[in-house]
Amino acid sequence: MGESPAAFTGPKNDDARVAAMGETTPEADPRKLAEEARDRVRFEEEALDLADQVYRVARRLVSTREEAEDLMQETYSRAFRAWRSFQPGTNLRAWLLRILTNLNIDRGRKQQRSPDLQPLEEGDYYLYNRLEEAGREPNVEQERVDERLSQEDVVAALSAVPHDFRDVVVLVDIGDFSYADAAQILEIPIGTVMSRLHRGRRILKRELADEAVGSA
């Protein structure tokens, strides 16, 4: 979790407000205008430098490359308009991902959500035990998990994790965000991040086991 604490203030997901912020102009003082232009350029460059990292998370929050690309364009368009609401010195990557996750949820994702409230009996050793039972005991001495699981297995298993859990798993395990950052990005309590992460990883391992050795 290499990020600094996310004391950032993400923009509210409100087009009118964001657009209004983007249209605000400083006083017509040439020096202030020049400072403003410089700050804006710096913001845009820093945001673009983070695009690869933001995309890596975005790609696993949605199902297709096209969706991820649309989401990225909409996020950056909004971020460039609302750049003044970013507090310099706070976590820009988290700020961008807060815009992105809000947009993703707004895109009707709520309709397809169904909270996974089924009891989950599998523990954290589940995947290892399933591989072992199938006679495919992972050879951890050689650290060759890739001999047991393929990249496709991982992609398929991740996409089978319900959204609310997947969001947290992707932010923490792929985006390398701290629990605190994930909580701010998703606007949920840190305790919820921890419980969703715990459950999400267990669901992921169940899915990986099914991919690797078939359904139990």
């Binding site: 364009q73 523990g123 954290d124 992972p138």
Partner: protein, 77 residues
């Protein structure tokens, strides 16, 4: 009733790797791991699995998209 030490160790797996355990809990997990190859193998596997998932899930952004994002920048003039 006495809790099975391997069950307890399994419960500590995720917060252990996330470095979210207290010093006392961490020491408890490590003491058990020192003597239990069953749990040790599973901890190593989990660590490696996380690395593998991160690597396998990574997909690079297309250069065309990067160009499109640059073009969204506000014109200064």
């Amino acid at each position: 009733m006495e809790v099975d030490p391997c069950e307890k160790c399994e419960e500590l797996l995720q917060p252990y790797l996330d470095r979210e355990l207290s010093d006392a809990e961490r020491a408890e997990a490590e003491l058990h791991l020192d003597t239990c190859s069953y749990c040790r193998k599973r901890y190593r596997f989990e660590e490696e699995l996380r690395r593998f998932v991160r690597q396998a899930a990574a997909e690079e952004m297309a250069p065309e998209l990067k160009l499109k994002l640059s073009q969204l920048r506000t014109s200064l003039f």
